[in-house]
Amino acid sequence: MSVVLRTVLVVRSLPLADPGTPPLRGPLTLLLWLARKQVRVLLVAMLFGVVGFTCSAFQPFFLGRIIDSASASGLDRTTWSWAGLMLGVGLVWIAANAIGHRWDIAAWMQAAFRTSQLVTRTVSRSGHNITKELPTGEVVSSVANDTMRIGEIFGIAAQTIGSIATYGIVVVLMLNQSFTLGLVIALGLPVVAAILALLVKPLQKRQKEQRDAQGRLTTLGADTVSGLRVLRGIGGEKVFTGRYRTQSQKVRQTGVDVAGTQSVLDALQILLPGLFIALVVYLGAVEAIAGRITTGQLVAFYGYASFLSWPVHLLVQSVNVVTKAHVAAGKVIKVLQVVPATGADASTAEMPPADVPLVDETSGVTLRPGRVVALVSADPDESADVAIRMGRFDDAGEVGTPVTLGGVRLAELDKDELRERIVVADATPSLFSGRLAGELDVRDSANAEALLRAMHIADAHDVLDSLPDGIDGEIPEKGRSLSGGQRQRVALARALLTDPEILMLIEPTSAVDAHTEARIAQRLTDWRRGRTTLIVTASPLVLDHVDDVIFLEDGSVVTHGTHRELLDLPTTAEGGREAARYRRVVGRSLDDDLDLELDELLDTANAQEGGTA
């Protein structure tokens, strides 16, 4: 017994180890696939649904028998036994209802969670294609809302099917007692349900209008709060509350529109079944007066007729749920169809051995093994683009700009292995919430000492101080509690800890103060000395420490050398014009009217250098 009880009560643990691979041909295909994947849960839920509803459908039957027995002989054995039967069947109904609800929820959760898993998996491997193809809000909403809507079909299925089965049973019961009445019920109910279902569409349309307006209002509210510091600093609060008020009243108005339709639906749900009951009772009374049925049966008919508002209600509800789920499935498919930006196809080439050069053939930038190099360009975007290209982030977009590792195109290599060897840290890397130590050590390979060393190199000790539990402290969503500079240094430490063969850092110190930048530049270059490293920067504090500087103009390498060499090279020497242009970039201003002053400054600097040498 306890085994049986456990079997029917236990809900399978989620999430699943493998959510499977769904077909993405269309919403209906996806929904059917989901149904097939959990057919057992659905069948059990339906079984309980049918049992529960059947038991409750018999309640009016017993009611009629008791009334008859009571009016014939008062509270005698027959009355007691009918009452006992009613109680017994009622208890079965209660149990089936409670257990059935567990299976309904199990079915709902499995469909919703499986779909959520599919979405999170797609997002985790899509690379930047996910943001390129869909707004963030839509992807988040697919997990927050759409998967839930999809689940609801499976949650309501058993109840709906159970109630339809009961509808059949009631019709048979009534046909047995009165052909006319049975016929009225058999035909009347579907008509009532159909009329009510007609209102579902317009209601959904208005509800959607309200949700959209509500969404805009929430955005406006969140936007005001996000910018609150700015707002409070300069004024303009009135403008903003005014705008919020206007949109809020718009939402209210859409709500009033919904109320209009909704109240009609509510009223019809009273009117139609109510008149239907009246009709049944009238016909029943006629039969009873003629002596063809008993008074108890008349009461039972009233009971049946009221009971049948349940199937009607559930049917209307199902129409609502199914249309919403269909739309939701369509939205989820749009997310699931996003193809990963890299590594979508299997690798076609062998991984080259270690210590081979990485070459961007378009610009001519070559990373030789073991060198710490800086990449400088008049346009910081241009040099960042080169580094990103060399990290392979977009197979489709990089077809025309080949990058090779030891002569083999990156796009032909296994992506996972490649990411192990080459790591690029973006100019604006994202931090993720979680325990700091875990978020830093993304390869799960570092010990406490290595963590602290990385934090030291990135000069991020103040972050440890700012978290209550230091390295074990929790970083909130997107690292929100940290300052811009702190976030950048934590991200740098994280990149250093991956300890790859080739490390590329884009503007790693753009948000830190000069004191800190000086320290990081020293420690970073010391730590990576002898290992292939590229730093995209124009900061003299960093350039001073690297082995080699590559200078880029209009997308191509024009010169290279140590920072010192490029600073010292006279304009008249070979490559001197390029060096002069380099000096202009790393100097303090690019603006034309300052160039003269800059040249003078450079000249003075050069003269002093010459003097001391």
Binding site: L14, P15, L63, I67, A70, S71, G74, T79, A83, L87, L91, A98, H101, M109, T120, V123, S124, G127, I130, V140, A144, L220, G221, A222, D223, V225, V230, G235, E237, T241, R252, G255, A259, S263, A267, I270, G274, L275, A278, Y282, A285, V286, T295, Y302, D379, F393, V423, D426, S430, S433, V442, E477, D513, H515, A518, P540, L541, R564, S589, D591
Partner: protein, 581 residues
């Protein structure tokens, strides 16, 4: 200093006081919907009554005509109930919408009027959560819960009263389930709130994880942490599963308990009624009527349990929303008027936590029209000093005065005309460019806006936009580059026209090239103003009239750039390494 624990949460008494006030303000519509629903509920009681009369009539022998008339009465009652429901339901929903609109508007107004110091220190995370999540959570309770609750209570009371009128004796049988019902409902309601809160927290976490994954898609790819992110999502889903299981288990007790009470009532009424009928005390018709009433009670009772539950959850959100109203003002404006534009800090101290001063008594006179650069390592108190000088925080010791009047004694509108703070945070508000600019000067004409843009070198790109000043920007609109956003922020300052400006690393988050470009436009714009620039790029310091070096909450060096370089201190060291000499 940037944790979100600073905002208060209202206690039960305060929450209740607020709710009472709110309902009192909307008393008239509340009365209307209660009355209308009472009429509708009464009409809904006619059906079983007619059934009982019919049963008695049939037993006593009657004609089809009598039966028809009785049924016609019932049908008329149904029509009446439907008509009134249409009206009452609509009014109830409109009532919910109106009250909720009132609440959220008032809330946003409170938020935008929060004290400057609170806004600066509380961080925006908690406030955003209150604006979106908490407001979202109370919306169901306010929009549907309150009206539904009114209807359920009215229906419940009337049905019981009507049963008593039909036959108080038979009606006694209805109450047999009450002890079970009350016990189970209390057991459930006590546990439901935390369980459902755990559920919504779990889903909020999942949403957060997905948001992070989408926004950090490039980083996930670069660091090859896709599998970690998938695992994180699965962990969140598992927590959601556990939370769902928790509430499911509660319902696995609630449902059979309530169902049992519901089933017990009609059976008891029947058996008890059969006994009474055989004694001749009541008619079978009365029994039939009361049995049907017993069934009709189920709907309102379920509604009651469901909404009590929702309203409990909403109450915690409500307490967080009302909590924002409890933030005390950090200053009271006096009526002293500054005599000149001189800003002077005397023995300025500040402690985020009592006893640990971040600033240790700083004396600083700003010379009118000078450019003062403040440099120093992270954590030296630069930003805090900047906020004191801009009047954002009242100092915990000493004073900052303008023209002899403490900054924090000035009304906010006036303060902004004297000193303004520009931070590295640049936020583009949802709306048109013009709206973004007019924040600083509501009545500025388009020409004035363009002049301000010209002053910051931004008129070029604004004019090249198809819609010019009317271009919609911010979330969902035209995307501005960080440099453009910063230019808009600067243009606002031009419009605001304060005599003193505090720039807190205003350009630090931009790429170096854009920063240089911006600072140059700043130089032109800020001509004639006193400027305090908290800087981390040394060329800012080089261009300043004076440089103050801050270390450990004290000014260690102050003077013109050349003097400090000549003095050979910390600043000189830094400057030399930057100049690669």
């Amino acid at each position: 200093m940037s944790t979100g624990k600073i905002l208060p949460i209202a206690d039960a008494a305060e929450t209740w006081r607020y709710t009472r006030g709110l309902l009192a303000r909307h008393r008239a519509p509340l009365v209307v919907i209660t009355v209308a629903n009472t009429v509708a509920a009464v009409a809904g009681l006619v059906g079983p009554l007619v059934l009982g009369k019919l049963v008695d009539a049939v037993i006593d022998g009657t004609t089809v005509e009598v039966a028809r008339n009785l049924v016609l009465v019932a049908a008329a009652a149904v029509v009446l109930q439907a008509l009134i429901t249409r009206f009452a339901q609509r009014r109830a929903m409109v009532f919910g919408e109106t009250v909720f609109a009132d609440m959220r508007e008032e809330f946003v107004e409170t938020v935008t009027a929060l004290p400057l110091s609170t806004v600066e220190t509380a961080g925006t995370g908690d406030l955003i959560a209150r604006t979106t999540r908490d407001v979202g959570r109370i919306q169901n309770a306010v929009r549907f819960g309150v009206p539904r609750l009114v209807i359920a209570v009215v229906t419940l009371v009337l049905t019981v009263v009507m049963s008593m009128i039909v036959s108080p004796l038979v009606a006694l049988g209805m109450f047999v389930g009450v002890p079970v019902l009350v016990t189970v409902a209390r057991w459930y309601l006590k546990r439901a709130t935390p369980a459902y809160q755990r559920e919504s927290a779990a889903y909020a976490r999942l949403d957060g994880t997905v948001t992070e994954s989408v926004e950090g898609a490039r980083t996930i790819d670069a660091l090859r942490i896709g599998r970690r992110r998938t695992t994180r999502g699965d962990e969140d889903l598992h927590e959601a599963f556990e939370a769902e299981l928790g509430t499911l288990n509660l319902r696995t007790v609630l449902f059979p308990g309530v169902d049992f009470a519901f089933m017990l009532a009609p059976i008891t009424v029947l058996v008890w009624g059969a006994f009474l009928a055989s004694e001749g005390t009541v008619t079978i018709g009365m029994v039939a009527t009361v049995v049907m009433y017993a069934y009709q009670l189920q709907g309102p009772i379920w509604e009651l349990i469901f909404w009590l539950d929702e309203i409990q959850v909403a109450a915690t959100s409500l307490s967080r929303i009302i909590g924002v109203r409890l933030v005390p003002a950090d200053r009271t404006a006096g009526d002293a008027v500054p005599v000149d534009e001189e800003v002077r800090g005397v023995d300025v101290r500040y402690a985020y936590r009592a006893g640990t001063d971040v600033l240790h008594g700083i004396d600083l006179d700003l010379r009118v029209g000078e450019r003062l650069a403040i440099v120093g390592p992270s954590g030296s108190g630069k930003s805090t000093l900047g906020r004191m000088l801009a009047g954002i925080h009242p100092p915990t010791g000493g004073t900052v005065k303008v023209g002899g009047v403490p900054l924090v004694d000035l009304p906010l509108e006036d303060l902004r005309k004297h000193v303004a703070l520009v931070t590295q945070e640049h936020h583009v508000f949802v709306g048109s460019l013009a709206e973004n600019l007019r924040l600083a000067k509501i009545d500025a004409g388009d020409d004035e806006l363009m002049d301000a843009l010209r002053a910051v070198d931004a008129h070029g790109w604004v004019e090249s936009l198809d819609d010019g000043l009317a271009t919609e920007v911010g979330s969902g609109g035209y995307k501005l580059t960080p440099a453009q956003a910063q230019q808009i922020a600067l243009a606002r300052l031009v419009l605001l026209d304060p005599h003193t400006l505090v720039l807190d690393e205003a350009t630090s988050l931009l790429d170096p090239r854009a920063a240089r470009h911006l600072e140059r436009s700043l130089n032109a714009v800020l001509e004639g103003r006193t400027v305090v620039a908290i800087a981390h790029r040394l060329h800012t310091a080089h261009d300043a009239d004076r440089v103050a070096v801050l270390d450990g909450g004290r000014i260690t060096e102050i003077g013109p750039h050349d003097e400090l370089v000549a003095a050979g201190g910390e600043y000189a060291k830094l400057w030399h390494s930057w100049q690669h000499e």
